[in-house]
């Protein structure tokens, strides 16, 4: 029982971490109808910026404090991501208004190549460290209830809390603000949105900046776990079934999807894996998502797919 | 169209006694979407060779009615009888096989395909050669393709869209797209043609053309036509009988004259002025 709970809990934590990346996808999709392939590259880019700024600033300005370095680096990384968003709008999106989703998807792919290259060119391609003081050692809880107790990772717990906060903020943003509604309109029909005076340029810069900042947070958390290097752009692959399961357009869906995928894949690996040779959690996540989709083709909370004649 | 469409039915189709047996009978259809009652207990019938109009204010349920006949929507209640066969819910493919074709209010053309391909796709039901023959494109497959192409070319001539044959339909102006939509339906050589606002977005001249096409099809091949239209001039002039829907309910049914004088219809749809003088001209 204790082990089962540990597994479930581990799954929930992992799921939160996936959700954090998934959130970036949802945001940009919800607000512009673009499936942002570059989300992984943005996570990498943001994390690289953060890691390197935190390393460089103390050298350049000659101070010691880790906290100060982190704060400055965070601010600078946010600014960097805003600049990136602005450039993306200026150079790419602006010229692709009203094109089909698949064209835009392809464009984000180009962006992702560009960011991969640019990120590593500017910041280097070795492994870098982000140290924001996340606790690494495990803690034991409920030692009296279960034999051996339950082992929890504090780092994961913190990360999950940050993810939850971010989600709450974003949900508010979408539901309560005028911009939130405009964003959804843009996702539905670029041209109509333009025709009623929604400034696409500004909207896109906002959305991609927020997407960039979410990527930054995800990058910091994953980066402080794994070290910052090219591979962290690959966590996007883990986020993909999460987004789909939760529904491409739903912020809470990303969280719930993350939790389901996280728990599902851990349980499957531990209880099913040994019978078939292990290593199944990757495809199992997708099969799980697929199973849900067969019941609800638009994902758990996604907008219903509309077909009318 | 100068040549054989669907075989004229038992000689009676032409002028003189215009309409025949009941071809389609719609009985007590009800359709709900969540809280919206799109259709409530609707019954009416369509006779062979007639032009049957459905009119009604916006949101009355006209398009939904066609969607039920077509098998796109499944009504919660009621039955549809077509050529003696009764269905609770039809599947689109069966409906098509029985010879019902359809145009759409919001243009449901295949945007990425050329005019020619769009109309050709209307004949897919009739294509017999299998995948392998089509891949090799020899012998029967080519002959079949050419034979259908000839039929389609006649429709293209008939609709006078020769110049746009190879244009992707997405680039055509709205009015021509409507015409292609009709062409695709005609290519099926249907017994019954369902037209959803075929003349929306056209000027008088173009409407006249469109009427011409509809009348020609109706008269020359005896095709039964069910027509939704907001232009009362058109409806009054060309239809044999009219059903009037309002908020999902049937409020009138009869000849154009009867309907025009029906007080319910005047109140709900026509408005006092429109019923006294036709909307086009003075």
């Amino acid at each position: 029982m204790g082990f089962f709970l540990e597994t479930v809990f581990g799954g929930l934590m992992a799921g939160m971490l996936y959700a954090l990346v998934a959130l970036g996808f949802v945001l940009i999709f919800k607000a512009s109808g673009v499936f942002n392939f570059a989300q992984g590259a943005m996570v990498l880019f943001a994390a690289l910026a953060m890691a390197r700024y935190a390393e460089w600033f103390p050298q350049w300005f000659g101070f010691q404090s880790l906290l100060l370095a982190n704060l400055l680096a965070f601010a600078a990384a946010v600014a960097t991501m805003v600049v990136v968003a602005w450039l993306i709008e200026r150079l790419a999106l602006r010229r692709l208004v009203n094109q089909e989703g698949i064209t835009l998807l392809m464009a984000t792919l180009g962006i992702s190549y560009f960011l991969d290259g640019a990120g590593q060119l500017l910041f280097g391609s070795a492994t870098y460290k982000i140290d924001v003081g996340m606790p690494k050692d495990p803690m034991m809880v409920l030692e009296n209830t279960f034999q051996g107790g339950l082992l929890l990772s504090k780092e994961d717990l913190y990360a999950a809390m940050i993810a939850a906060m971010l989600v709450a903020l974003l949900t508010l943003f979408f539901q309560k603000t005028r911009t939130g509604r405009a964003l959804r309109a843009v996702a539905d029909d670029h041209q109509a949105a333009q025709s009623i005076g929604i400034p696409l340029a500004r909207i896109w810069v906002i959305v991609w900046s927020v997407g960039g900042i979410v990527a930054l947070v995800a990058g910091i958390i994953w980066g402080s776990k794994l070290g910052v290097q090219f591979s962290i752009s690959l966590v996007a692959l883990k986020a993909f079934p999460v987004v789909i399961l939760g529904g491409l357009t739903s912020v809470p869906g990303a969280i719930l999807g993350g939790l389901i995928i996280g728990v599902g894949e851990k349980l499957s690996e531990i209880y099913l894996g040994p019978f078939v040779g292990g290593g199944i959690e990757n495809w199992f996540a997708y099969v799980l998502a697929l199973g849900f989709l067969l019941v609800r083709p638009q994902g758990l909370f996604g907008d219903k797919i509309i077909d009318r004649v | 169209m100068q040549t054989h469409g669907p075989e004229p039915l038992a000689g009676e189709g032409q002028a003189g006694q215009r309409t025949g047996e009941v071809l389609l009978d719609v009985a007590n259809i009800s359709l709900r979407f969540g809280g919206v009652n799109a259709l409530t207990d609707i019954s009416f019938n369509v006779r062979e060779h007639e032009i049957r109009a459905i009119i009604g204010p916006n949101g009355a349920g006209k398009s939904s009615m066609l969607n039920c006949i077509n098998g796109v929507y499944a009504p919660q209640q009621g039955a549809i009888t077509f050529r003696g066969q009764t269905f609770k819910h039809m599947n689109s493919r069966q409906v098509a096989e029985m010879g019902v074709a359809r145009t759409f209010q919001n243009l449901a053309l295949f945007k990425g395909m050329s005019v020619l391909d769009n109309i050709m796709s209307g004949r897919n039901l009739k294509i017999k050669s299998n995948l392998l023959w089509q891949a090799l494109r020899i012998g029967p497959a080519v002959r079949e393709e050419i034979q259908h192409r000839e039929a389609v070319e006649r429709i293209i001539d008939f609709l006078e869209i020769q110049a746009y044959r190879k244009t992707p339909v997405g680039q055509l102006p709205y009015g021509l797209q409507k015409r292609v939509d009709l062409g695709r339906a005609l290519a099926m050589e249907p017994q019954m043609l369902l037209l959803d606002e075929p003349m929306a977005g056209m000027n008088v001249e173009e409407k006249q053309d469109m009427c011409r096409f509809v009348l020609d099809v109706n008269q020359e091949f005896g095709t039964t036509v069910v027509l939704i239209e907001h232009d009362m001039g058109v409806v009054m002039d060309i239809s044999d009988r009219v059903v009037v829907l309002d908020y999902g309910k049937k409020i009138g049914d009869g000849t154009p004259q009867e309907v025009r004088n029906n007080p319910d219809v005047i109140r709900a749809y026509l408005g006092a002025e429109a019923s006294s003088n036709p909307p086009q001209g003075h």
């Binding site: 870098y128 082992l151 070290g227 851990k266 990757n282 | -």
Partner: protein, 411 residues
């Protein structure tokens, strides 16, 4: 015009495995530069080289191989830096008559030079590595592994699966238990694996990892409370960059090595003097002396020595063909004295190859991360041949049969 010998450098400075690939590539190039700068080449033959980026991708690797194989007088042996690329070019090399040098990776059975005429898994294979790890564990456990539980956590790819046959063979013979935990690449998330390990409590974990899987695994071990002292990593998961940022969290983490990474030898001083001080280093000076960089230098050194050996046979001061260099690979004899003269005396063990033995040496030792640097923890072990040799025979015979290769006789 002086003779020139072309050395192709397949590298990955980008992509998933770049943190390992960069110092490795720098090391390879630095040593060639050193030989040119210090010795004026090999017996006067200047070494020319060109890098080709593979990004660890097999198709790209094949393209690089094709592009570079006929350069100059012929490429003097490829170090593909990837198991996948090795598979893809092995057959081609056979036709093209080019040597493939795979120090510490590649196909374990390619030690057998009678079948694998063109492959040189110098210094050790995954089988010898697994064997040495077990020896060290056995030593800690008082000589016997009987009744122990050993887990293999591996990168789920041909690379990670290589040690399995040997482990299973030894487990059956010596009465210990092996359990397998595949980790699907890239392995950014390994919670379920380590939860299982926490549940099954194996006595030791052998860690066949690569790239980001390594820090992720160590972190997860830490988070699930598995002692790092009980982890043994293969040499590709035991570089500085793998553990540096984890610092104290990785304290106690063991890795096997084919060389004394910790040692600073004459070659490092030479490199500084002849290359870096002149501003011609390939990478940052700080990476000189790291595990991966030193390994890169060793690999180039072996290649240079193969060229030198071949020149002895085919004519000093001449540029050689690929086929001639292969002969050099097969007739390496780097004694302790020679190594010392080359500046690698402290770094590695003597190497001697032959027609039937393409590995040259199978000694390795264990290093441990003390939270800040690698510490040598054991003396050199030689791999135990009793289980490895039959495996090599069996697997290379199968290969020969599948491929219709007629084994040569070595005489």
């Amino acid at each position: 015009q002086a003779a020139e010998q072309f050395v192709p450098l397949l590298v990955y400075r980008t992509g998933q495995f770049a943190p390992l690939g960069i110092p490795w590539a720098d090391g390879k190039q630095d040593y060639l530069k050193l030989v040119n700068a210090r010795d004026g080449g090999v017996n006067g033959v200047k070494l020319t080289f060109e890098e080709c980026e593979t990004a660890y991708d097999a198709a790209k690797g094949v393209e690089c191989y094709e592009r570079l194989k006929t350069k100059g007088t012929g490429a003097s042996g490829f170090d593909p830096q990837s198991t996948g690329i090795t598979f893809a070019v092995t057959d081609k090399a056979y036709n093209d008559k080019v040597a493939i040098e795979t120090p510490g990776y590649g196909l374990s059975q390619s030690v057998d030079g009678t079948v694998f005429e063109w492959n040189f898994p110098l210094l050790g294979t995954y089988w010898t590595a697994a064997d040495v790890m077990l020896q060290d564990i056995a030593k800690k456990e008082g000589g016997s592994l009987k009744g122990k539980k050993i887990a293999l956590v591996y990168h789920d790819s041909p690379y990670g699966k290589e040690p399995i046959p040997l482990l299973q063979k030894r487990a059956a013979a010596e009465g210990f238990e092996v359990s397998l935990f595949p980790v699907t690449p890239p392995g950014v998330e390994q919670k379920s694996t380590w939860l299982q390990i926490r549940q099954q409590k194996p006595d030791y974990v052998l860690f066949w990892s690569a790239g980001v899987m390594t820090p992720a695994g160590i972190r997860e071990a830490q988070a699930s409370g598995y002692p790092r002292e009980k982890m043994y990593a293969i040499w590709w998961a035991g570089s500085d960059h793998d553990v540096k940022d984890i610092g104290a969290g990785a304290k106690g983490y063991n890795a096997i090595t084919i060389h004394n990474s910790a040692a600073q030898d004459k070659v490092h001083d030479d490199l500084k003097k002849f290359v870096y001080d002149k501003g011609q280093g390939s990478g940052p000076a700080t990476s000189v002396g790291t595990l991966a960089h030193t390994r890169g230098m060793m690999i180039s050194m072996l290649q240079v020595e193969a060229i030198r050996a071949a020149q002895e046979k085919y004519g000093k001061g001449k540029a050689l063909t690929s086929e001639q260099v292969r002969w050099g690979y097969e007739n390496l004899d780097l004694t302790a004295d020679k190594l010392k003269a080359l500046g690698f005396g402290e770094v590695m063990r003597p190497v001697k190859t032959s027609c039937s033995n393409h590995m040259g040496t199978d000694w390795a030792r264990i290093v441990q991360w003390d939270g800040g640097k690698w510490e040598i923890k054991s003396d050199w072990y030689q791999a135990d041949k009793t289980h490895i040799d039959p495996l090599v025979k069996e697997f290379s015979a199968k290969y020969a049969k599948d491929k219709n290769v007629k084994p040569r006789t070595c005489g």
